[in-house]
């Protein structure tokens, strides 16, 4: 292997061993196991694959998973932007602690989040009791799934938008104001275009995370087939019935979506970086 593509001779040692170990470890832990899923599905043929992923129960789970994930990511886009704005632009008591706590969904194990959200959004829970009299049930319905997915996606938008807001040049806003724009116009025509790429990236990250989420959802979802059964749970159900082929087919359909999202997110981040540098 050559270390000399940069023209200048690199004097540092350890290229072969560090790259070699990286590729070996990556292959053994990630690539070979992931390829197992694709190889297993390959054996089913297209008809067999399609027969599994087009059954009504699986399709219902796709609609639920992607629908609630989209809604949760949208809620996070709106409120995440608001939280980032408030944390960057305003000074108030407890700001730094709140800033640190925004990352809680990253640090709190999903199972803990799941049972805590279920307890408070159940009919007799701290928050659920206020909705119960109006006939609105949150826990054990798709609404509960939305709550859990909003929780776990919350930091993504805040943390992608926050640094861009911090770097935003105040001069632009001053210029807009001196040209007669009011604050709302300045926000729409100056600030929003500047943070747009970061906002879209945060939305995509929150969406991608929500689609695969399992731990926090299963406690609050109710898990009724066709109604509140998310796709990752369906994979587990098939596994428990020893239907490995079925479970793998559904998993591969989700992997294809995840990898497409990963590609889109990479492109978005490249776009955001360019916009920020320009």
């Amino acid at each position: 292997m050559s270390t000399l593509s940069s023209g200048r001779r690199n004097v540092l040692p350890g290229f072969n061993i560090s790259l070699g170990f990286t590729l070996l470890y990556l292959g053994l832990i990630v690539l070979i196991p992931l390829s197992a899923a694709f190889i297993k599905t390959w054996g089913m043929g297209w008809e067999g694959f399609w027969a599994v992923v087009s059954t009504p129960r699986v399709v219902a789970s796709y609609k639920l998973t992607f629908g609630t994930s989209l809604m949760a990511a949208s809620i996070n886009a709106v409120f995440g932007l608001l939280v980032a704005w408030v944390l960057v632009r305003y000074d108030f008591w407890g700001r730094r602690i709140i800033d640190a706590l925004v990352d809680l969904p990253f640090a709190l194990p999903t199972a803990v989040a799941g049972i805590a959200l279920t307890a408070i959004y159940a009919g007799n829970g701290w928050i659920g009791q206020f909705f119960e009299p109006y006939g609105i049930k949150i826990a054990f319905t798709p609404l509960g799934i939305l709550v859990a997915l909003t929780f776990i996606g919350l930091p993504f938008v805040v943390r992608t938008v926050q640094p861009v807001l911090e770097d935003l040049e105040k001069e632009l806003e001053e210029a807009a104001a001196s040209l007669g724009a009011n604050r709302l116009q300045t926000f729409r025509h100056v600030i929003l275009p500047a943070i747009g790429p970061a906002l879209v990236t945060g939305f995509a990250l929150a969406f991608a995370r929500a689609v695969g989420e399992y731990g926090s959802v299963i406690f609050i979802a109710g898990n009724v087939p066709m109604v509140s059964e998310i796709t990752p749970l369906l994979i587990i159900t098939k596994l428990e019935q020893y239907d490995y082929v079925g479970a793998t087919a559904i998993a591969v359909s989700m992997l294809v979506v995840s990898f497409t999202l990963l590609l889109i997110i990479n492109l978005l981040q490249g776009w955001a970086k360019k916009r920020q540098e320009a």
């Binding site: 540092l12 070979i32 408030v86 706590l101 926050q162 999202l261 997110i265």
Partner: protein, 298 residues
């Protein structure tokens, strides 16, 4: 997929009125943001400790001192003790190759390292079942030789390594790329060997980033639920990690015990956030100290 979260704690600048909102609008926006965070973040966090201690400290300690709980704690610690160092070595090695050398396909390699973040935890468990499970690639070989991986500790460790795979690497790669390799090259010219360069030059430069990655990696390793759930088999006292123990207790309606166990994990999360803030504050301070005072950088 990027979850890199850099936080620049610059205090909100005192701005002229042309670049900020009237007092009432500000108060309203802060109010809405805090209400949202309260509903979705603070209330659930408080609820964990409230439910755990609802019946007093007696049942709380009893739930934690139970043999199944103790063995779950032990297994969680063992799993993290294997997964985190392995991913640490990998992270340093990957960052060294990627940040210090030029080679073709580098960007693609970085994307591949991020891959586990975009895979559902359930699928992370499933792929190991396909390889090591009874019907898997090595299933008959393993059962002939009486080796258990799935529904045993090795499977739990493997699934945990998978889901925590990118944490250290993705923290170190941008850091080491930004630092460049001038100092290392100087050490090399002065006659230092590879290990000396790493220990005396590179490590002191990356130690806070390294710590940051390890903290996040450890939190996820101890708290992982979905992937571990698929490969564990839920055998009490044997293959139950803390998060799985929470689930079992909860499904048996032993709510106080479930929340008591959950409170341990919530404490771990709070400690993680505290350490994380400390490291961020420390690196921030360091950057400010190293820059000339008239040119502070966020």
């Amino acid at each position: 997929m990027s979850t890199t979260l850099s936080i620049h704690n610059t205090p909100a600048a005192k701005a002229p009125s042309s670049t900020t909102e009237p007092w009432l609008v500000r108060a309203l926006l802060i109010g809405i943001a805090l209400a949202f965070l309260t509903l979705f973040l603070f209330v659930p966090l408080v609820a964990v400790f409230f439910e755990a201690l609802k019946k007093g400290f007696g049942p709380y300690w009893a739930a934690l001192a139970e043999p199944d709980a103790i063995s779950a704690i032990k297994l969680t610690l063992i799993t993290a003790a294997i997964a985190v160092p392995l991913n640490l070595v990998f992270g340093v090695s990957a960052a060294w190759a990627i940040a210090k050398f030029q080679f073709r396909g580098k960007q693609f390699l970085i994307t591949l390292i991020d891959l586990p973040f975009s895979v559902s935890p359930v699928i992370a468990g499933l792929i190991y079942v396909l390889i090591f499970g009874a019907q898997g690639w090595f299933g008959s070989y393993l059962s002939d030789n009486d080796i258990k991986i799935i529904f045993a500790v090795p499977g739990i460790v493997l699934a945990t390594i998978f889901v925590t795979f990118p944490f250290v690497a993705r923290e170190l790669i941008p850091l080491m790329e930004a630092q460049g390799s001038d100092e290392e090259e100087a050490a090399r010219v002065l006659g230092a060997n590879g290990f000396q360069i790493f220990w005396k030059v590179t490590l002191p430069n990356i130690k806070w980033g390294l710590l940051y990655g390890v903290i996040l990696c450890n939190a996820r390793a101890m708290g992982e639920f979905g992937a571990v759930s698929v490969v564990s088999g839920h055998i009490r006292g044997l293959t139950n990690t803390l998060p799985l123990h929470v689930e079992i207790l909860y499904n048996e309606y032993a709510f106080t015990a479930a929340f008591a166990t959950a409170s341990l994990l919530a404490l771990l999360a709070l400690v993680t956030l505290g350490l994380k803030s400390l490291v961020e504050w420390r690196t921030h301070k360091r950057i400010n100290e190293e820059l000339p005072p008239e040119n502070p950088q966020p």
